[in-house]
């Protein structure tokens, strides 16, 4: 089972690097995952998106559709890719500790 190192603690992730146990998510963990997705530092802008994703997921049990994400966070898709080079699904959702999206983000 692949692992990710969080301050020396090893947490289980799946092959794609998504955390296995959503309850383990923490802001620190997010930062650690971010590094694997070429996001060196989680800026306020990054957090805005990560938090939006988490809130949305908590509320609806799914990740939002891209159009919604852009509309509601105010970032266009280009900017989101600049912030998360691996994109909203692989990058942002992973960092936000969401399940691997099968839908659209």
């Amino acid at each position: 089972m692949p692992m990710i190192d969080l301050d020396g603690v090893q947490l289980e992730v799946d092959e794609d690097g998504f955390i296995e146990n959503p309850d383990e998510w923490s802001e620190k963990l997010a930062a650690a995952i971010a590094k694997t997705e070429e996001v060196e530092e989680l800026s306020e802008d990054h957090w805005k998106i990560v938090n939006y994703l988490r809130d949305y997921y908590k509320k609806f049990g799914i990740a939002p559709m891209i159009r919604k994400l852009c509309k509601e966070t105010g970032y266009d898709l280009k900017t989101i890719y600049e912030m998360f080079p691996s994109g909203p699904a692989k990058g942002a959702c992973k960092i936000a500790g969401l399940p691997k999206p099968t839908g659209c983000v």
């Binding site: 296995e20 146990n21 959503p22 609806f60 049990g61 799914i62 990740a63 399940p99 691997k100 999206p101 099968t102 839908g103």
Partner: protein, 352 residues
Amino acid sequence: MTRTDFGPPNYKEMLPPVIKENYGKWKYHERVKPGVLLHVGESGDELYTVRVGSGRLVSTDWIRDICGIAEKFCGGHLRFTSRHNLEFLVSEKEKLEPLIAHLKEEGYAVGGTGHSISNPVHTQGWIHCHTPATDASGIVKAVMDDLFEYFTDWKMPAHCRVSLACCLNMCGAVHCSDIAILGIHRKPPTIDHDIVRSKCEIPNVIAACPTGAIRPDPKAKSLTVTDEKCMYCGNCYTMCPGMPVADPVGDGISIWVGGKISSARTPPKFSRLAIPFLPNNPPRWPEVTDAVRNILETWASHANKHERMGEWIERVGWERFFSLTGIPFSVQLIDDFTLASDTYRSTPAFKW
């Protein structure tokens, strides 16, 4: 920084000179013989095409091989067709027969034009997909070995397109093929609630079920499936790894017939279910090859010239299709999905 968004290679740089010169100014074509087309430009220029069957799943070495041939006979140009065949483009007539001879010598399959069967469009199967109910390449190989004479020869009254998809997602777009081979599951998903809980977007999974068989189970933070409502489409599994449907006993093949795409004579038609289940019997799936051959030959021997499978069936009636092919009629063939009532018969005018 990596370059992005530069798009595919420009086709213009890929075209052989004869095409560049006659681009958009082709005048007519002739079917020279099975596997060989001749296109003549308004300029009088001639272009011979030699079509070669491909297994589609090929190695880089194979690609290099065909490149070698194209360099020798075709000035280093070739193309693939929308059904994954390979086409050698010969602008010098004198190279045509040597090319063909060379191809035959090397064991390439020349054919697939005109009233022959072409390459079955197909999919990944056990090679690379996570939802298949069968393999793809293997069945295609078995079927085409069996029907090879129909690829290399013009023995049919019209086009016949065989396609295969290994699950209901139908990546092979089999839904409008003369003969479609479709992998099906026959068991409802087995649910791993731990996976559902931690890895699945439950509302999306519920919405994914065409028959409303899935309900939330808020207590377990998971979901339940009403087995009687499940028709094993696997769409829930697409959405959620905790709901696999594949099963060695449940999985197998269904056969569909009478679809078409072109608007020639009749509008496009959907393929319709003829055989609801045949077992997976690798490596040569004899039940499937037999069924396909039976359908193909029954059609070929009864249809009028230029009459596609679906046109023939509509002319003689489905009741006659079943009596002529000897395929038993089973209750699964009777529709019960959304547009079902349009397929029931509302007339006492039918054949015995």
